[in-house]
Symmetry: D2
């Protein structure tokens, strides 16, 4: 039921120690989150942000880092949904190294639906809720 | 007892929604972590990485995002230490907006001391342990 | 004869003004450069860097920015080769917005082949030279 | 007459080859450009962007890379102005390694004054022109 995005580890994802610098794992998660919208939603995430001025800022993260990714690896980023509330949802991410399926990173990321201009929390629209229920 | 670093929010810290993109909060934390070494340690963090090929990869994060930071804000990044084990330590970070002291972000970040080439976990050296006990 | 890479403009490519921040255009160029190796070369660019410790640092850039790219746009990054010398080569890049083919950016980027550890300039190997001559 | 900004090379400035990844040199230039506004102008660059919705997008770059910067180096970024036209200005940047004054990077960067919403080119305001003439 999960959504998976394949992402190349690029030159600017790795640090001076030659491995993915830990904040970059969250960039990978966000790319999978966008890809899921592109793949399945009636509106792309950029349209939501740019045109509707609404989006899903992150409010909480619990994450564990278990192995490193190197420049040139392919990351398999898997996205599932743990729970959907009225205005917030918690997503489960796993990042594996494609060549050996080794788990490198896992996270629970909670996001809230918000008007980006007024900063007001909004109920999640029905079409997005239905989309997410498909990977619950 | 905490260590504090003042960091300008730069053009490349904010995203298309005009606020600090959430993974950038961890970049700010890492900058404060480096500044603490520069300020207080006998070895800088770059020397540890480049010359000794040892460092503190992140193994776990619990974080909460409570308010946004905008381009041009000054971030006050406060670093404390929660506990120090044989090979790992847990750091407490708070990021506040300088102009009104509003809390924007808090995190517990656990790091392990490691040989970067062999990937072997090592005991934390006494001089670094002493340094960290000063902000315990 | 040119090589083309399609790249999504991601959340972390745009800045507080809502458009691709100008240094990010060079990140897009480098991604196309890597993709070209992946597509056509016997060795990937990460293998060259990580295993052979050789690579192509940039020594000169001439570039013009003619239109903006926004979050959600697809960039068409086109790579051609202008000239190949003994140890250096000059690449021509054009970045167009996929939806209307509008030219946003063009650049000539000169790179030198180098041993990354000794920093010694090296002659370009025959297999890489042959690869590049295919898009001359 | 030049303006100089001192900037630490951070963990996320360097790449898998252990040196500053070439697009990051432009990030360093932009930081010096912002620091110059903070230091000398009546309006900060973020205020110009966020409040007045006007700014200086880059339209052309000529740059040369002559030596590398490593993680832990301090960069001395020097900003001068070559010429100021009605709506555009060309800036000269030099980046040197603080410890030995070695020149690592030089660039001419041309910027145009623009309304960020209408994308209309505007004459450079008198107060900004006067500011820049001070480092001509």
């Amino acid at each position: 039921m999960a959504f998976t995005s394949l992402l190349k580890i690029r030159f600017d994802d790795v640090d001076g120690a030659g491995i993915v610098y830990y904040p970059q794992f969250f960039h990978l998660c966000h790319k999978a989150f966008e890809d899921f919208f592109d793949d399945a939603a009636s509106v792309s995430y950029p349209q939501l942000i740019n045109e509707q001025r609404r989006g899903f800022p992150t409010v909480a993260i619990h994450s564990d880092f278990s192995a490193s990714l190197r420049y040139g690896d392919i990351a398999l980023v898997t996205l599932e949904i743990d729970k959907i509330g009225r205005s917030s949802a918690t997503f489960s991410y796993e990042i594996r190294r494609k060549q050996d399926s080794k788990l490198c990173f896992s996270a629970k990321i909670t996001k809230v639906f918000m008007d980006l201009d007024s900063k007001q929390v909004l109920p999640i629209p029905d079409d997005i809720r239905a989309l997410w229920e498909s990977i619950l």
